[in-house]
Symmetry: C2
Subunit: 235 residues, 2 copies
DNA sequence: ATTAAAACATGATAAATATCATCTTTTACA
DNA sequence: TGTAAAAGATGATATTTATCATGTTTTAAT
């Protein structure tokens, strides 16, 4: 079942793919060669909040969480970047240290693009710069939506939303027509929704009883996306 | 008493002033003339979430809240823009509808800049464009900090933070050496912190008992900014 | 295959926060 | 300046969510 018509997924995703698409074939080849890509193991850290940035990253394959460690050492996931997305550019462009940390959620294939190369392209290609400006402006609206839900939504609403988003990102790689499986730890789900791990487990049980999802070990499948969207209470 | 050294205020403020500063005197005069400025009464709405944007706004005087209306018709304040800041550019640059609403928090003097004029300058001035890119990247870090506190912080922490931020913004216009007064409704404070109004009132009482603040009617003064920063638990 | 560690699950309890009802004070304006 | 409306304040209560303790299952490495 599709999200189209019942949930505005574009309001929850960044759009750096369009920035990458502004590159010419030659630029793409020189910057983002798969040859130079590194393999990251699940859980491996790309960069940490507070570090001086030395470049940006392009995700060929896999998923990367961007997160912050709060006071009580609890982790808040800000965004999950998917295949074909860029990360790490905020710090470079703002001329600041990394505002958050990044770690692979699963085995991933990622190219590192040195700061200088990135800034060169930015200087040369006005299209690239314009798309970047557009993408960053769109991010404002994504984060704003998140902020609103995070501070006003109930635990169930926040978890439902997290499931919707992560399910959508899990579609890449799933054969068409087949329901994608969500393969995240309960802890990561908790850190996405900003709630306690035990609460995630209990709410998943509730969703299961309502036939919204089914599980097998840690894996979760969405049976009824319409009900899940309802549960997220997103109007 | 100053914030410097004890609290990184720059991590909580946008930086569109630097964008405006990229304008030449002539550009500034033609775009942001005080002559064409409009007076907005307290509570008056500049634009609403979902509207098609027709331009951006420059705040000569006053304060403007940017907010979203959640499901339960509760309002979440995303950001309070101060004197000399721009607002409304995200929607134009992202080529989307306004992602949030904006309303004057006090009597304000604001210039409307038509979309075309804004885009013209953007095309002409690479400095303007570059600063805009930098400002938007910085906003990511601001919103990210907000998101982390909003989903993980306690009510007291969030209110303390709101007070720190709004106090800082109230400094403009306060004679140097004098403690600025915070003049927001309890409801607005609640909507900034994302907590219930009654909870704000009770927490303010607590802060008063701890000698952190003093009040007179709705007005609030900070007696002890160090204690307030501690209360915000921001590390 | 065995086993230690990690992740998952569950129940009991405590803590935090929202909601509701009501009263008082302040503010705005006719 | 009187008065209605809005905002502020308070107490009682309900609800939500986190925390703690403990047991079970799964996972991964030897």
């Amino acid at each position: 079942m599709s999200l189209s018509g019942i949930f505005p997924i574009e309001k929850w995703n960044f759009s750096t793919q369009t920035v990458v698409n502004a590159l010419t074939e030659a630029e793409y080849q020189s910057l983002i060669t798969k040859q130079g890509a590194q393999k990251y193991k699940k859980g491996e850290i790309l960069f940490k909040e507070g570090m001086v940035p030395s470049g940006i990253y392009f995700i060929h394959q896999g998923k990367v969480k961007k997160y912050k460690n709060g006071p009580a050492s609890r982790e808040q996931i800000i965004y999950v970047a998917n295949k074909n997305e860029l990360i790490g550019y905020h710090a470079i462009l703002a001329e600041e240290r990394y505002p958050d940390s990044a770690a692979a959620l699963e085995e991933s294939l990622i190219t590192f693009i040195p700061k200088e190369d990135f800034l060169d392209i930015l200087q040369q290609s006005t299209t690239f710069a314009r798309r970047l400006l557009k993408a960053l402006s769109h991010e404002y609206s994504v984060l704003t939506n998140n902020l609103s839900v995070s501070s006003q939504g109930t635990a169930a609403e926040r978890l439902a939303l997290a499931l919707i988003l992560i399910r959508e990102k899990s579609k890449t790689g799933t054969p068409a027509g087949e329901e994608p499986s969500i393969n995240l730890s309960r802890a990561d789900l908790a850190n996405m929704a900003g709630i306690a791990k035990e609460n995630v487990i209990r709410l998943l049980k509730e969703f299961k009883n309502e036939q919204i999802i089914r599980t097998e070990g840690r894996k979760i499948w969405v049976n009824d996306i319409v009900k899940l969207v309802n549960r997220s209470n997103y109007k």
